[in-house]
């Protein structure tokens, strides 16, 4: 599991790549915490299209990022989850808290 990032005009985009489970979650959260501390972004986008697998540990990561950004007065949302992560998101109901959007890329 890897998290790549890009930053532009106050927006930090996090590209999740690989399998996000309990085994990888701690390192992922540390990486994200460092990136947020470094850039202090206004918006934080979690780009999920590179996720090969995600379980409830990923739900906790998404919620934590959302809460951190909220506390800083910023915004956070997730984009483009593949089918399996989307089913986990649906079952957990976090889409009532965190916006999950699909962007059209051409």
């Amino acid at each position: 599991m890897k998290v790549l990032s890009s930053y532009k005009n106050g927006r930090l985009t996090l590209f999740f790549k690989g399998e996000l489970d309990h085994h990888s979650a701690k390192k992922v959260m540390n990486t994200i915490d460092q990136l947020i501390d470094e850039y202090l972004p206004r918006d934080c986008v979690m780009e999920l299209s590179g996720l090969k697998f995600m379980d409830s540990s990923g739900i906790a990561v998404i919620l934590r990022v959302y809460k951190r950004m909220n506390e800083m007065g910023g915004r956070a949302w997730a984009e483009n989850p593949p089918r399996q992560p989307m089913r986990v998101i649906d079952a957990s109901g976090i889409d009532r808290i965190v916006k999950i959007s699909t962007t059209m890329k051409e």
Binding site: E19, D21, H22, K26, D55, S57, Q84, R87, S92
Partner: protein, 145 residues
Amino acid sequence: MKTKNYIKMEFPSRSVNEGFARAAVACFAAQLDPTLEELGDIKTAVSEAVTNCIVHAYPDSIGKISLRARIIDNNTLEIVIKDWGKGIEDIEKAREPMFTTGGEERSGMGFTIMESFMDKLRVRSSPGRGVTVTMRRRIAVRTAE
């Protein structure tokens, strides 16, 4: 229920085994010809149950986890995941959505996910004697076009 095929494995509660356990069950389940979505559901449920053993059953030590899977009547996969850790006092409460004893790193959604992704979920436990989770999922039979 007649057992048509089965696997049995045992591994220590190290988090690196989470990925191994779900991949192993997915490989075994492949003979039922599941769709990608069915396989994803099964992998997710296994990941939740195994992670619970690692996080909750043995919070400060490495313990033993047993995983069995078998194919029974009606194109159905049964998975039994067992630990000998601290156990659950109130199973009904533990199964409620958002209930967790795990703090910020947990969302309390594991059992809810297992329940919604599998056809049957049974949880047995007595405090101090570990937990046994039994799950069943029927794989739809698809006819070749």
